[in-house]
């Protein structure tokens, strides 16, 4: 315990002695963590958005009013066997009426319904495809089978164009983000390496005396490793703070507008995945720091 605390003390001393270098190192690390976290967040958001768009692709089949429930359910059972079908939702006459009432509670359509004096809605089935590309198969399935004569109308809700556009935009952002992250990682490795190398050179006399008086290797190398861990931890805290408040506050409205109707609020997304992002940042920050300082120690610090 004494040894551990002393290594931390020496590391803090190194940190303060080279404060300017420490600040530069932390700044670069913040950029790395920031860009990678933002990339991760964007991925989560894009996945949610594309999922939401995919979910909106379906075929609604409206049956004639006189058709018996058994026949509609038989159609449902048969169609469910198809490879292209992900799920089928059955909407009864009463449910259709309720849905209509809820949707038109504030307009005149509800009065027209009262004029009719009965439930004019037929039963319907909503078929969702396993993948967006199978929407055509679903259309063929319902229109080409035995139930064609009892189907009043089919309605296709095809958002494939929106999906393609969304995917193209998020793919581009992803590519740019990945490129920036890789570039920052390379810069960070070089900067941390140089910082630890400089620290080793400025501590040369102290290190030679440590060796002379029989300091164990962990005492000689430990402070430099702890120093680099410190860089990683501080950088992840700063990156988190920047991501959390100023940046999300500024960017959130624009991103939300882009994903409007498809995904939840970006700030909410961030909150929901906060632990994942914090862990990723700390892990990445510390691992990057240890790896880069490890190279410097191996190369420049003879024990």
């Amino acid at each position: 315990m004494t040894a551990f605390l002393r290594i931390i003390k020496f590391a803090l001393k190194n940190f303060w002695r080279n404060l300017a270098l420490s600040i530069v190192t932390i700044t670069i690390l913040v950029l790395v963590l920031f860009s990678t976290s933002f990339l991760l967040l964007l991925n989560i958001l894009a996945r949610t958005a594309t999922g939401a768009v995919e979910n909106k692709i379906d075929v609604s089949v409206f049956f004639e009013e006189r058709v018996a429930e058994e026949k509609v359910l038989a159609a449902k059972n048969e169609w469910e066997k198809s490879e292209a079908v992900k799920s089928i939702e059955y909407i009864s006459k009463d449910q259709a009426l309720e849905l209509f009432k809820t949707k038109h509670k504030d307009d005149d359509a509800i009065k027209a319904l009262e004029e009719v004096g009965r439930n004019p809605f037929g039963q319907s089935l909503v078929l969702k495809p396993k993948s967006p590309d199978q929407i055509d198969d679903l259309e063929k399935l319902v229109n080409g089978g035995d139930y064609k004569s009892v189907i009043k109308q089919t309605s296709l809700s095809d958002n494939r164009n929106d999906l393609a556009k969304l995917k193209a935009v998020t793919d581009n952002i992803h590519r740019i983000g990945l490129g920036a992250s890789i570039m920052f990682v390379i810069i960070a490795v070089l900067v941390i390496h140089s910082t630890i190398k400089m620290t080793i050179y400025t501590q040369q006399q102290e290190i030679s005396i440590m060796r002379l008086v029989g300091a164990s290797n962990i005492f000689i190398q430990g402070p430099f490793i702890v120093e680099s861990i410190l860089y990683g931890l501080i950088a992840s805290l700063i990156a988190m703070a920047i991501l959390f408040f100023p940046l999300l506050g500024m960017v959130s409205p624009f991103v939300d507008k882009f994903f409007e109707g498809y995904a939840e609020n970006i700030f909410q997304s961030f909150l929901n995945n906060a632990w994942l992002i914090i862990l990723l940042q700390i892990f990445l920050g510390v691992i990057l720091s240890i790896a880069s300082s490890g190279f410097a120690i191996r190369k420049h610090l003879k024990v």
Binding site: T2, A3, R6, Q205, E206, S208, I209, M210, R211, L212, V213, G214, A215, S216, N217, F219, I220, V303
Partner: protein
């Protein structure tokens, strides 16, 4: 205690620093290793603290063949061998006390023990009243005493002194030699590496003479002969 068996050290470029040196140093001995610059004196020190390994031959300290020493064992060896140098090698931003305590701190010794041991060692070197001074506030002789205090802090069995009087005036040099003799009287083996003729002749102890890496003389009560 220390046994050099046909030890040679050849540096790249075929530069021979030491050639088949064989000698034995008994526990509690005071030995001066003398010779001109480039004679191989400092190489002997470097080999003894495992800063270098011999090209040929064997070095035994106690029962320990340090030519086969594992990397992780080097700190243990160095805690058993105190070393002082001509340039003192003190940290100028630390006080005399902190310089000596540093040697214990980096060996993982608890703070409470450091507070007990350090003043005791300062008493041995006669600097108990100057522990809080920085190196720049001390004379050369006093700085060398601080270095000796640091070298003694692990209670080593061997004390290596590499030109300890090289930067000192005659009075301070004599005081340092007296201190080394006193330490030797307590049972510590002292190896003094020097080219100071007057000092060697004054000590009247064993003298090993090196010349161009060759051991040319080993006198039980010797003089500086080169």
């Amino acid at each position: 205690m220390i046994n050099f068996q046909s030890v040679s050290k050849i540096y790249p470029g075929n530069i021979t620093a030491l050639k088949e040196a064989t000698f034995n140093i008994a526990p509690g001995e005071f030995v001066s290793i003398v010779g001109q610059s480039g004679s191989g004196k400092t190489t002997v020190i470097r080999l003894l603290i495992a800063e270098e390994s011999p090209t040929l031959g064997k070095i035994i300290i106690g029962d320990w063949d340090i030519t086969k020493i594992h990397h992780s064992e080097i700190p243990i060896l160095r805690r058993q061998i105190g070393v002082i140098f001509q340039d003192f090698k003190l940290l100028i931003k630390k006080t005399a006390y902190e310089n000596v305590a540093f040697a214990l701190e980096v060996s993982g010794v608890p703070s409470s023990r450091i507070k007990t041991i350090v003043p005791q060692v300062f008493k041995i070197v006669g600097l108990e009243k100057k522990m809080d001074r920085f190196p720049k506030q001390m004379s050369g002789g006093e700085q060398q005493r601080v270095a000796i205090a640091r070298a003694l802090i692990h209670r080593p069995k061997i004390l290596l002194a590499d030109e300890p009087t090289g930067n000192l005036d005659s009075i301070n040099a004599h005081e340092i030699i007296d201190l080394l003799l006193k330490i030797n009287e307590f049972g510590t083996t002292v190896i003094l590496v020097t080219h100071n003729r007057e000092i060697v002749n004054m000590i009247k102890k064993r003298v090993i003479t090196l010349d161009h890496g060759h051991l040319v003389s080993d006198q039980a009560t010797g003089k500086y002969i080169l």
